[in-house]
Amino acid sequence: MHRQGFPPVVPGSRPLRIGIGGPVGSGKTALVAALCRALAGRVSLAVVTNDIYTTEDADFLRAAGVLDPDRIAAVQTGCCPHTAVRDDISGNLDAVEDLEAAHADLELVVIESGGDNLTMTFSRGLADVQLFVIDVSGGDKVPRKGGPGVTRSDLLVVNKTDLAPHVGADLSVMARDAERMRPGTPVLFLSLRGEPGAAPVTDWVLAQLAAWREGNTVPVADAALGGGPGGGQPVDTPAAAG
């Protein structure tokens, strides 16, 4: 018998939950803020931040004025950011459920993990789809180091391409290694300080949301890598840029 999650996830029956993970400072919050700005007025959304130190992430979103304060919840992770999104997702589930209860019109909940390392992934019990944000300043070797964050996320985002010339990172090497580490699954190159901005990720999120609403989302990485439960349609994603 294949055991379902608890409660079993029925695509479209509740707001889509997207996890955004990645190392410290890679640009997760900047991406969340850009998404909020891009989707404002089009999608009713809320954000959960996980932060080992402060509610700084939540404050940043509030200060940026991109989201009403009552649509942002902060979760404490007990010094273990990966535990809070993977091994024991209770605090995050409580936060998500409270936001869903408070906002009947909610369509999308974005969960930002605390900064962690390349092994971090979201539990499928918490995030329906997940993206992993790295940046070029960690060196162009990062994609080939692998780790579940890089290999199993549904979308890999390589951020801060504007810094590539300054840190000697070769984007074509990163693209090639990423393709080898996660064959057939999407990789997007971004600079949140200029072009292309968050537009490619916004398109990807909207594609996931459209599929979810139709009741047929399946995590892209699981489908491509042959893991996880089957029974849905892979979602078309914009081609990798960069």
């Binding site: 509610t55 979760v75 404490q76 992770t77 010094c79 809070a84 209770s90 605090g91 589930l93 409580d94």
Partner: protein
């Protein structure tokens, strides 16, 4: 007592415990806990104060749930009110209810046929723990052991993270604590069986822990925290 004890006592049980330090983070922040001796004092105070109360309520809840199926008509309202009255700090009550909510999520998944909503909108952790213990085929004393050890294990593991203690040294402290946990559980189970037969709630332990209440209050006012409590 069988595997149910290990199931519910496992620190990896995904019921939110990892994010709660039981006041230890604040005690560390104020310099009250800074070495293994002060940690030991903190844990003993916690165990014989709130630990004894939590253990008694978990034991009552195990008896109230009953041995065969979770009794929807048990004295859940009384247990809720009585435990509230013994938890003067509002943040401490909130943390107890938050952990109760998380544990009930797990229990509901594990034993879906039981009427978990009977425990209330947002039940206290000790009450859910006792009810879950009975579903895991533990008796009242087993539930009390779980609650007693839970009051020291969480802060001990938070101390490893916050103060970089040697985890083996902290395990030595917990090993010394085990006998105390058993003693607290014995007394809790006895009190619970008396009270559950005569309904005299006043006879349940009501130890106050003003130091811990202070920790809970100050923690909730803190800008920078790693733990939810």
């Amino acid at each position: 007592m069988g595997a149910g004890l290990l199931l519910l006592g496992d620190s990896r049980l995904p019921a939110g415990g990892h994010a709660h330090s039981g006041g230890l983070e604040n005690a560390v922040a104020r310099g009250e806990v800074h070495d293994l001796d002060t940690l030991t004092d903190f844990l003993l105070g916690r165990l014989y104060g709130t630990g004894a109360v939590q253990a008694a309520f978990a034991a009552c809840a195990a008896l109230a749930a009953g041995p065969y199926a979770l009794d929807a008509d048990g004295p859940w309202g009384e247990l809720d009110t009585e435990l509230d009255a013994r938890t003067p700090s509002a943040p401490a009550r909130a943390s107890s209810r938050a952990q109760g909510r998380s544990l009930r999520r797990v229990a509901r998944a594990a034993w879906p046929e039981e009427p978990w909503t009977a425990l209330g909108v947002s039940p206290h952790h000790a009450v859910v723990l006792g009810a879950a213990a009975s579903r895991a085929r533990l008796d009242a004393r087993g539930a009390a052991v779980l609650a007693a050890t839970n009051t020291v294990n969480g802060p001990a593991s938070a101390a490893v993270k916050l103060l970089s203690f040697d985890p083996i040294a902290v395990t030595v402290v917990l090993a010394e604590m085990a006998g105390h946990c058993d003693q607290v559980a014995d007394e809790a189970a006895e009190a619970a069986s008396t009270v559950m037969s005569d309904g005299d709630w006043d006879r349940l332990p009501a130890w106050s822990s003003p130091g811990l209440d202070m920790c809970a209050e100050l923690h909730a006012r803190e800008e920078v925290v790693h733990f939810a409590s």
